[in-house]
Structures are given as structure tokens and as C-alpha cells.
Symmetry: C2
Subunit: 144 residues, 2 copies
Amino acid sequence: MSSDRSDLLSPPAQAQADVPRCTPNLPGFTCGLDATLRVVSGKWKPLILYFLAQDGPTRYGELRRAVRDVSDKVLIQQLKELEADGLIKRTDYKEVPPRVDYSLTPLGHSLAQALVPLCTWGTEHMAEVSRVFAERATWNTKRQ
Amino acid sequence: MSSDRSDLLSPPAQAQADVPRCTPNLPGFTCGLDATLRVVSGKWKPLILYFLAQDGPTRYGELRRAVRDVSDKVLIQQLKELEADGLIKRTDYKEVPPRVDYSLTPLGHSLAQALVPLCTWGTEHMAEVSRVFAERATWNTKRQ
DNA sequence: ACAAGTATGCACCTTTTGGTAAGTACCCAA
DNA sequence: TTGGGTACTTACCAAAAGGTGCATACTTGT
């Protein structure tokens, strides 16, 4: 009597080998992707990292204007977290109208590199994404 | 005089050319990265996409157990959004103990590919990330 | 003298997000 | 008959995240 349940568990399920396995290594993270997400989640963090990677050291005000729609409070907050996580470096020039700039650390730079494909994906599929969001919007206004 | 303020605006600032410019194309998105983020933000979405890319079509319950710590409500919710955004496909087998599975669409698959570097980054730098988080934790408990 | 720009800090509030616990309808195994 | 598994749904709540507006202290431009 078939106590063999191998047919109920996922059958070999020819995995698409085009994506490498992401296995857990350290306690506290389910996998590498999880670890990354802990560090980049924050509405503006990826944008900040990417901007710094493109433009090099940037003053606070310039960053503020580049990352559109962010508020001071949140921008500062995310910059502090990125700094605490070792991804960016804050340089205070101790000048008298304050002057500060932010730049990527090597770690931050490597992360920004990893963001490149996401950026590319978004650029390539922006039309699709845009369409879907438009539909959702009309939907919501109709139901509201 | 000197109404020329080109020295006050960011000077050529030799950009690190190792990261491609991410320029806005469509209204509503500041850039490609922004577009991507709209679609993958959600605590578990990248994990779901990556899991499906690794393991192929997966039943709800299996996914639930794979994405550790997610609640039913949120998992379902994120699956619905991913489906609405055209990244995954839900298949209902209409069987009587319900049977449903989720798989990536081509679009979802391409996005999962773009997540690979993030996953790799996390795996490679997990030690650093872990350290930083541990420090933050002791900090918080001390101050609490 | 006054407004504007510099990089923040803080109090307060709203929105968004996520979690808990219960329920559903049906089946199978003990 | 009880308990567990399937794939959800719903109502309610807590926490996290983000936004607004005001304040600072000093300078430069008008």
C-alpha cells in the first residue's frame, strides 16, 4: 500500500535552471535575497543608491531635488539608515552655511550594480507597467 | 557680474560610468527603477517571484510554507496583486479539495531574472549585513 | 532689513501595510 | 466524530512608514 508519497510531494518538477538557487546561509535570513531586501527596503533607498552611483558624491539639497517627492524627514531618515548599514558615507565639510555630501561606499557601490537589471527591466517594460496601473486606477475610482 | 553659475551647478562630476543612466520615459515614473519598484514592493513579492522562478508552478500551500512567516491574508493579497500586474498566473484546477497553483508569466520570469543579482549580492554580503543588524539590535534593546 | 538657501530636528498626524483569529465548504484518515 | 488538510475570505487591530509644518543658526543676495 503506497506509503510512498513521492507523487504527492512536488515531483521532480524540472526547475527552470536559469535562476540560481538562493539558499539560506546565516540565521536570521531565509536567503540572500531576503538579506538584500532588509537593507534596501525603504521607499526611496534604491533610488538614492542608484542616483549616487550615477552621479557620484552629491550634496543633500541636490539629492533632495533629484529624488522627487521625498520629504526632508524621510530622506534624512533613509540616508541615516543607509549610512548605518555601511552603504553610503556622509561627509560634513563643517562649513558655515552647512555643506554635506553623500557618496557610496564600496559596499553600496556593489549593491547599486546589482540594481542595474531592475532599472533596465523597468525601462524596458514601462509601457506594460504603466498600462496595468492605469487600469487599476480607473477600477478604483469606479468602485469608490 | 559672473551671472554664469555653471560652477555652482554640479560640475561635470565625472560620473562613474559603470552604472547606466536611468532616464524617465513615461509620465508617472521618475525612471525605470521607479517603475520596477512600484511592482515589486510588497514585503514578500520578490521572494515569491524568486521562488516561482526556482521551483516552477507551485501550489498555494507549498508557497505558504516556503515563504516563511507570511500570513494567509497577506500572501493571498500579494499573489493577487502580482497576478493583476501580469507577473504570475493562477491556475485553478477546479478540484474538490481545492487545488490551485501559481506560475510565472514571461513578464514575471524576466523580472525574476533581474532579481538574481540582488540575491547574489545578499548571499555574498550576508555576513556584513548580519553584523550591522546585530549591532542595531543591541542598540535598540539598550535604549529600550 | 528681509527673504532665501543650507542641512537638519522634532512633534504630530495620516496612510499604508501587515498580522490575528475566526469562518467556509468540502474531503480524507483515524 | 474528531481532526487535519485544501484555498481562501472577512472583520478587526497594531505597527510601521511616511508626510506636514515649524524651528534652528548662520550666510548671502536684494
